[in-house]
């Protein structure tokens, strides 16, 4: 999977100092052909996508809204947010419900949920390879669990807190 990373040639240094982190748990998932992950602590639930109602006039990367046990969830299309090519949902698609401030429940639409990954300091690289200029702050860095290649996303940036 090492060649799957479509990083542009230019690398930008993260302006923020690299935090020293102990081993942290991430939830990895697939978008298109690549593996991404977000901090596990930020995810409260994984659900099979219920019917999603589109919201006219909403920003393009919001697929719509759905209901999970009575809770209204705003569903974000991560592919569109990260400027990846579109693809129809599959039977493996899932919605990750994120812990946000009270007032909104945000769901991330992903193609497939992989696994919980534990990354120690040596497997984390926080100086980010960015995907694109204005998405620089969506990416925390890169993880290499057992030689695999996982792009770590900043959940806070994605849900917009």
């Amino acid at each position: 999977m090492a060649d799957a990373m479509r990083a542009p040639a230019s690398l930008a240094e993260r302006r923020a100092p690299a935090e020293s982190l102990g081993p942290r748990e991430f939830l990895s998932f697939r978008l298109d052909a690549d593996t991404y992950a977000v901090a596990l602590a930020g995810i409260r639930e994984i659900v099979s996508p219920p019917p999603v109602t589109e919201v006219p006039r909403a920003p393009p990367d919001i697929i719509g809204i759905c209901s999970v046990r009575g809770l209204l969830v705003t569903v974000i299309d991560l592919r569109r947010r990260l400027r990846l090519p579109e693809a129809p949902p599959s039977r493996l698609s899932r919605i990750l419900l994120a812990n946000t401030e009270p007032g909104e429940v945000v769901g991330l639409f992903v193609d497939e949920v992989r696994q919980v990954v534990r990354l120690g300091a040596s497997e984390l690289e926080l100086t980010a390879n960015v995907l694109g200029g204005d998405l620089a702050d969506h990416v925390l860095g890169v993880g290499r669990p057992d030689g695999d290649f996982v792009v770590l996303l900043d959940l806070n940036r994605i849900v917009g807190t």
């Binding site: 219920p50 019917p51 999603v52 109602t53 589109e54 919201v55 006219p56 006039r57 909403a58 920003p59 919001i62 809204i65 759905c66 209901s67 009575g70 209204l72 705003t74 974000i76 007032g103 909104e104 429940v105 945000v106 849900v159 917009g160």
Partner: protein, 708 residues
């Protein structure tokens, strides 16, 4: 375990808020009484008690700044009630300012913020500078043969009241009443009310001799100018006896300071007037100079209430919403059972569903009622603002409040306070003329601001009216042209109310130069936006030199509504029934274009038409059958009407509207979403916003187009 203390802390903020509100009402009443030159000591005492309680609570819950402020206020109010300090307008001003600062201090405390509160420190300093004089301690109590044991159980305040009464030349009586413990509340209110007509009850003393274990005997110590006969006639009864407390004979009085005033030898000074005079601040909800008996009854009523966290009510409403879905499912099941041939069973289930529906309606109604609070809450705050601004602008303002008992959802009330304050500020600042100008045009020197509220179907209507100079149309037009909102050539085309409504455009209703007090003023556009967010509309009416009237129409509740389900381009939307006037068949042949807009005619009147599929950019879903006919749902809000063109009607349903999240806050046209059952979600249309969209800013452009 800390849960308990945290919960108690929440109760503290709740109680503190109520105490501040009650303090505010007391101060308003004191203000009114000061204007009349009278003083009701119980008002000062109540204000003192409120602040005293606040101080104690603040100390308990570690709210230092609230405590410090309360301490100062308590000193001042104690001085006032013990007669060491005179009540002047300046002192009242300070007290009113303190009330405003309380809210800020409590909010800071609640959010545990350390931000400095400069106003707080300032006012604490100012309080410190109020001097007081120690009262000359006269041995007045020796005038009467008072039981030492009874004197021993009087608090300092009660002793002061007793002294004051005696100094004023009142007589003392002991009214002994025997109560049944079971009915003591009511019986007590009764005897209090009757006794207070005659004078002041200093204290209530249990005598300790009960005739049985379920009765109790109390002595009321009454200071009154009535004679013993009068009191006996009025109060005596089977279980009530009246006895005068004998005056000590002059020979045994240690140091008489004034000759005994028996037999009416010199008329005792009149008791403070308790009856409101006309022409002063009039409030129908709580007459400002309510006789204390009613106040006590009102206090009792408050004690019967239960404090509820509104989030709990939201949770209950959610459950009701879920039950509504269950009810609908039951209905569908009954249909299916009947369709499959089990008529008897189907009918029975149907009848169960109907009965469930009725009970659910009652439950829903009950919860909604709990959420409702009287508008008087907001009106009280406005009364303070009126007084404050009136003084700062040196304008005499008379505030008339009616309909304060009109109820509206608590959440709406919280959001209303700011817009209403802005409206009132503008009315006093821009509307009401200065005294000399008013005299010149023959108006009473005091300007009148009238706040009125009433219920109209599922809406609450709030009117704010002033008798000022009215809105200057030419000034509005000038401003609008200067800001580019109206072309200079279009001025002549605008109808009068279109001109007035220009006031709601951003930038229009602020002063050109900042006045000392209100700065540039707050724009009416902000007020309108706030009202729209609550699903309401605002209308303006004005006449030169006569006055201006603003009418705000609001839905009574945001929580659960009856909605009409409609289908547009294959998707289902919900429209609150409160805004729906009717639904008619859509006949394409009857739709024509007028001034660039689609309209139809309904009973001879032109009705603008809005195609939802078009404004939402909805393409028909793949695989959906093309619709043959459609419908027009006529929405009416305030004085405006709009017909929404939809493909199909799907019947009525009770829905719980849930707010859309922050990421969707910029999307206009929806007031939320609701779950329809089987996890399907439908967006709830916001007719007010859509009507706004259709009509806003298009007026002038339209004219230009058609004459261009």
């Amino acid at each position: 375990m800390t849960d308990g203390i945290d919960k108690a802390r929440e109760e503290f903020f709740s109680e503190a808020q109520e105490l501040v509100e009650s303090l505010s009402r007391n101060l308003l009443a004191l203000d009114a009484s000061l204007k009349r030159g009278t003083l009701d000591p119980s008002l000062v005492n109540e204000a003192f008690r409120a602040v005293h309680t606040l101080k104690g609570l603040a100390g308990l819950f570690g709210a230092k700044r609230v405590g410090a402020l309360s301490h100062r206020l308590e000193d001042v109010l104690d001085g006032l009630r013990l007669g060491r300090l005179a009540l002047t307008v300046e002192v009242l001003d300070l007290l009113f300012r303190a009330v405003e600062i309380y809210s800020a201090a409590l909010a800071a405390e609640r959010s545990k913020s350390d931000d400095p509160l400069p106003h707080l420190d300032d006012i604490i300093g100012e309080f410190g500078r109020i001097g007081s004089t120690a009262p000359a301690q006269k041995n007045t109590l020796a005038r009467f043969e008072l039981d030492a044991a009874m004197l021993a159980v009087l608090t300092e305040y009660e002793e002061h009241r007793l002294r004051t009464s005696v100094e004023q030349g009142l007589l003392l009586y002991r009214v002994r009443v025997d109560f049944d413990l079971a009915t003591i509340d009511k019986a007590l209110e009764d005897i209090k009310a009757r006794a207070k007509v005659h004078g002041e009850v200093i204290t209530y003393l249990p005598t300790g001799s009960a005739t049985s274990t379920d009765t109790i005997e109390l002595d009321l110590l009454l200071a009154s100018s009535s004679t013993e006969e009068e009191l006996r006639d009025s109060l005596s009864g089977e279980r009530v006896s009246v006895a005068a407390i004998p005056v000590r004979s002059p020979a045994s009085q240690p140091k008489a300071t004034a000759p005994p005033e028996r037999d009416g030898a010199s008329r005792p000074p009149p008791l403070p007037s308790l009856v409101p005079r006309r022409g002063d601040v009039v409030s129908e909800r709580a007459p400002i100079m309510e006789p204390p008996a009613e106040q006590a009854a009102a206090l009792r009523a408050v004690a019967q209430t239960v404090r509820v966290d509104i989030r709990k009510l939201d949770a209950l409403m959610n459950v009701v919403g879920e039950l509504a879905i269950v009810k609908n499912t039951l209905g569908r099941l009954a249909e299916r059972i009947r369709a499959e041939g089990h008529r008897q069973l189907g009918s029975e289930l149907h009848s169960v569903q109907r009965s469930f529906d009725r009970r659910l309606g009652e439950l829903q109604g009950g919860i909604l009622e709990v959420r409702m609070v009287p508008l008087g809450q907001v009106f009280d705050r406005l009364a303070r603002v009126v007084r404050q601004i009136g003084r700062e602008m040196d304008k005499d303002i008379r505030l008339v409040i009616t309909g304060a008992e009109t109820e509206i959802d608590k959440l709406i009330v919280e959001e209303l306070s700011d817009p209403l304050m802005h409206v009132v500020r503008n009315a006093i600042d821009h509307g009401i003329e200065h005294a000399d100008e008013r005299r010149r045009v023959g108006k009473p020197v005091a300007g009148t601001i009238a706040l009125n509220a009433f219920q109209k179907g599922n809406h609450a209507v709030i009117e704010v009216e002033d008798d000022g100079r009215g809105i200057d149309e030419r000034a509005i037009l000038r401003r609008a042209v200067a800001l580019g909102k109206v072309g200079p050539d279009d001025i002549g085309q605008l109808a009068r109310n279109e001109i007035l409504n220009l006031v709601f455009l951003p930038g229009l209703s602020t002063r050109e130069e900042a006045s000392d007090y209100s700065g540039r003023g707050v724009g009416m556009d902000v007020v309108k936006t706030n009202i729209s967010k609550l699903g309401g509309v605002i209308d303006l009416h004005s006449e030169t030199d006569i006055g201006t009237k603003l009418t705000i129409t609001l839905p009574v509740t945001l929580a659960i509504v009856s909605a009409l389900l409609v289908r547009v381009a294959g998707r289902v939307f919900a429209m609150p029934l409160t805004s729906v006037a009717e639904a008619i068949s859509l006949n394409e042949a009857e739709i024509r274009t007028l001034d660039g807009r689609e309209v139809t005619t309904l009973r001879g009147v032109t009705l603008p038409v809005c195609r939802l599929a078009k404004i939402f950019g909805l393409a028909p879903l793949p695989g959906s059958a093309p619709h043959r006919r459609g419908y027009i749902v006529v929405a009416s809000l305030g004085s405006r009407r709009l017909g929404f063109a939809v493909d199909d009607l799907h019947g009525q349903q009770d829905i719980v509207i849930k707010a859309l999240g922050k990421s969707l806050s910029r999307v206009r046209g929806f007031s939320g979403a609701t779950e329809l059952g089987d996890q399907r979600v439908a967006l709830v249309l916001d007719p007010a916003a859509l009507i706004e969209e259709m009509f806003s800013g298009e007026v002038v452009r339209e004219r230009r187009l058609s004459h261009g």
